[in-house]
Assembly symmetry: C2
Homo-oligomer: 415 residues x 2
């Protein structure tokens, strides 16, 4: 087997030990040099953070927090350990959210994903991620440089020119969104253009449907996914050996991933769907417990490709389930506060529907007790936390659907 | 005074000595390792190339040659000293013409232009050159990194997002085409957005009209131009000190510039308009006597900013003056062959017009003799070289318009 580095095959113990030693150094640096972390971690003993359980006590940073922090402390919210103008690059993603970038080798860590997809020194990659304002293009280019591959900065759109470039420069790989490759291949077919040089695709930033993966495979293109964000860089990746459907994504060695109950800071058990929350081991722009808003679940065991890190399932939807009920916004965090009031409750799902012209809802709670008094108490707690009245239904532990949904909106908006 | 390096203020003798020593090394390497140069320079004694006069004996490489060479020897025409897949990047410009790129520090040499525009470490630059397929964005980003500035990879278009980025990230400088800055400023005015952080603009890739430069100045923005191409990198630049109108562009220290009579390999005297032809001192992708198709003229003396290199005037039009006369293509090179047949002639201008429905033309020749016999002989030479009949008019030396035009087409195409 062939790995990008030894980190990929280290034992869980060694990984934890090394990652948490680095994390403590990063947290200490952040507390000293990044104003926002200085405030956020006031009174927290960094040296006591020895494992994931300790980590789970640190505050969660949400994408919405980031927007507010960047607005009140421009440009980067006080979350970096050096001034913005000391970074090589600055980017802007929709939100707007601003991100720093660097030309330090593989700063966003995508080299590991490219390597796992089978790409090597001497390969030519058509990089169809956007380079303008967003860091996506730069992220993959930086990773490609680290493995010694050559990049064609294709960017988005310009399908005919992409085909011209493929015909003449004969890249072996495509990097970009899952769907744009199909746009290129279909247009090339129509034009009778030879784009058969492309044998590998590393895709991200959108859903790769199994049918699409199969279609690429039928054309001789091995298509693998990776998962990352403009803020975090690489989070997880598929490996060519582990194959495709159901094999999951291996967590990057520079990231610590937790799956949290949406709206909370609490990790869910392995297998349960929740919000992907990531801690990056980046010394200049550390993001600690950054809740992505994406849903996924941890998988049992390790990949059969030999990489020992934990895996997550692919993207399973969005966690931002704020609903407007009777004119009031309800957040998953409010539901969580109701659940936390009772030791009997472990998990809940608020289902909103309509009765005539009125919004109604029921809070379904996994509970060790099915007592009617408990039910009435929970109703009162709902009134306290949500400023709304609703029903409560208690159910057996493990009986709620495992899809990460805390607020399910069943109202038909086409009435 | 403040210069990017000592090269900018060296004596002409020292510059020639250093540049030609480096050029000989590059030519030797190219002859040994770049197949196209091996063929082109067969039998040429590289060691004998000691100055510009020797250089002017080497063959000229035209943009059209490049297209043909790249088609017959893909992907880079055999003009590089290493394989395409050993470059960091590959690009495609309209033509299509393909260019290699590298993440070696300031590979395209734009740092010098940015520095001369007053940009320094710690400055933030909004880079509105395109990063997709073309190398323009990467060229300026690479230069900005070399001076320690921070780049916002703005790219082209997305005016509203560019304004968002300026408001939040407050770049001190804009780099991009001359006109797009005005689009941004006007839109920002309409939206009441504060984009006053921008104080410096380095523009390229289009005409900077004096009125536009003045408009920027009126807003407190110092706007300077530089000139380069996707193939060559930087060729010449303005300096902040030398000021604006009429000060010209200082030739880059990594380029040797000649001004040639269009269609020929012959340098014109200082002040005469001709085709900008550039030799880059690039060891991996040397372009030797690369005729850009752009017109300019050498200026007398040096810039008052203290930089000692020669200057060219700004962009003065295109040199590719191929015309179709009576259904036949006529190239400036054919006109040149007529001129070269007679020691009396120094320069000529073929003026095409229409007589009724027919194309007619007159070849105006600067001549030391006004003899009628000579006139008749030239007419015969025209028939030989152009396969067309036309008139000849002899005139005094120095009397033809100095605009680099060899074939002037006065036909009205709106008839």
């Amino acid at each position: 087997m062939d790995f990008y580095d030894d980190d990929e095959t280290r034992s869980d113990n060694l990984r934890d030990e090394k990652q948490f030693a680095l994390l403590r150094a990063i947290l200490t640096d952040a507390k000293n040099n990044a104003p926002a972390y200085a405030k956020l971690y006031e009174g927290i003993d960094i040296d006591a953070i020895q494992d994931k359980t300790d980590l789970s006590k640190l505050p969660v940073l949400r994408k919405s927090d980031l927007t507010e922090m960047q607005a009140s402390q421009p440009p980067l919210g006080g979350l970096t350990t050096k001034p913005a103008a000391e970074f090589t690059s600055l980017y802007m993603s929709p939100g707007p959210i601003f991100e720093p970038g660097s030309d330090a080798p593989d700063w966003w860590r995508f080299a590991r994903a490219l390597y796992a997809a089978g790409l090597r020194k001497g390969d030519v990659i058509l990089n169809c991620f956007a380079y303008h304002l967003t860091p996506a293009g730069a992220m993959f280019e930086s990773g490609a440089k680290a493995i010694g591959a050559t990049v064609i900065a294709g960017g988005v759109g310009n399908t005919d020119q992409q085909i011209e470039a493929i015909k003449h420069l004969r890249p072996r790989a495509y990097a970009g969104t899952p769907d744009f490759l199909k746009v290129i291949l279909d247009r090339a077919d129509d034009a009778g253009a030879d784009v058969s040089s492309i044998q590998v695709a590393l895709v991200s930033g959108g859903a790769l449907f199994p049918s699409m993966r199969q279609e690429y495979a039928d054309r001789g293109i091995t298509c693998l996914q990776c998962y990352g964000t403009a803020d975090l860089g690489l989070v997880a990746y598929e490996s060519a050996h582990s194959g495709a459907v159901g094999a999951g994504m291996i967590i990057d060695e520079g990231a610590i991933v937790e799956i949290l109950r949406p709206g909370t800071g609490d990790p869910v058990p392995i297998g349960e769907v929740g919000e992907v929350t990531v801690t990056t081991l980046n010394t200049e722009y550390p993001l600690i417990r950054f809740a992505t808003g994406d849903l996924s679940a941890m998988m049992d065991g390790a990949s059969d490709c030999g990489r020992t890190n934990a895996r997550i399932k692919g993207w399973m939807g969005r966690a931002d389930q704020t609903a407007k009920i009777k004119g009031m916004f309800v957040h998953p965090a409010q539901v969580d506060r109701v659940v936390k009031r009772y030791k009997e409750l472990s998990k809940a799902r608020l289902v909103v529907s309509r009765s005539g012209a009125s919004d109604v809802f029921t809070l379904h709670c996994e509970s060790t007790s099915q007592d009617a008094t408990l039910c009435e108490q929970i109703k009162q707690s709902i009134r306290d936390e949500l400023k709304l009245s609703g029903d409560v239904a208690l159910c057996e532990c493990g009986s709620l659907k495992n899809d990460g949904i805390v607020i399910e909106d069943t109202r038909d908006y086409n009435d």
